[in-house]
Symmetry: C2
Subunit: 240 residues, 2 copies
Amino acid sequence: MKIGYLGPKNSFTFQAANKLFEENKLVPFASIPLTIEQLENKFIDFAVVPIENSLEGSVRATIDYLFEQSGVTVKEEIILPIQQQLIGINSIKQPQKILSHPQALAQTKQYLKTYYPEVPLEAVNSTTFAAQYIAEHPEENLLAIASEKAAEEYNLNIIASNIQDNATNQTRFWVLSLDKSSQITMNLQEKKISLFVTLPANVPGALHQVLSAFAWRKIDLSKIESRPLKTNLGEYVFYY
Amino acid sequence: MKIGYLGPKNSFTFQAANKLFEENKLVPFASIPLTIEQLENKFIDFAVVPIENSLEGSVRATIDYLFEQSGVTVKEEIILPIQQQLIGINSIKQPQKILSHPQALAQTKQYLKTYYPEVPLEAVNSTTFAAQYIAEHPEENLLAIASEKAAEEYNLNIIASNIQDNATNQTRFWVLSLDKSSQITMNLQEKKISLFVTLPANVPGALHQVLSAFAWRKIDLSKIESRPLKTNLGEYVFYY
């Protein structure tokens, strides 16, 4: 059995996938569409991709790609706390630069402003890459923001831990499969379903009528989103 | 009078702002939050920022920042067709690289795949920067994807015009102001309003009840979106 995930190794998606599957079955891919494509090509049995972050909202690459597919089902949901660590070879008071992925830099903005107001920040492709780069360039006097896993992998020290500005920073991941009957060990706490709805005409009250079907049955709607149909401005598919 | 916009000069936001305001009144800023901040500090009289693209959907930086502000009002809406041009010093059959902003590269994916399948693509900070860079480095054999305006500014030739994959690629921009009474010359075709709604409790049917108020009055709802409240996963503000 092979499980594809949004890489690189030790990414947060890797950590989510590793909660359900053994490490030796995990195969990294460079992007969300690529990961799901490999599932459709039956090169992998499951695909693990992020679907929502508590600060950033829905992961559009995942939603938009799934809207165009018909055969893929969501098997499980994994919720992972996202904890960012300031890491380095040694604790440096005045690093030349601090490297990380743009999202990790955004999630630790307050911390960096307070403790490293003068230090330039450099955006790189992944937090794992940031950790690897500073480990391989000890002469450059750099720090990185990355996960504990990445610090371990490259033998780096954690200089300050859990520096994300919001203590409840979490990401939801989906485990996708083509096989509707296959079972995974974990159970969802609550039964959930995700729907894409397109309306025949853009008339006042049309969305209200759709929501009536849920309200009458006291079905809780956790979120709703208009995603562009990619035709004209103002034409949407509704994603619940 | 000063009008701030999401720069740099000749960006698509510049072109939108230039439809309403003279060029010598326009002041570029490096990010959406910075542009709106300057309005709040009364350094500028109007701020022009993107709010939605027909392919990508809402511009989250704009929505999330405005949710946290109370004094800013939307004065006007500008819709601009987004047309991407392949530009260079000369027409090169086998360029070393093609440079552009990631969104412009995404919007011309099919074209690039068909005509330049082997050429590496490089993401840079803005389409304007891409144009400037290739103009200043004639020895490097590069092409860029940018607007017609950017080609003019740096005396570059248009090698292929309107290469975006979707003919109806459009972006909506908002003109923001602190002054509720000030008038601008353009008129909206239709009266529109944008609302942020938070619900007292997450109970089944709560959103349906809110939408009833609009449906009963036959008020057309153009879009709806859940944006995270940045507290916990599953807690949202609804943006209409």
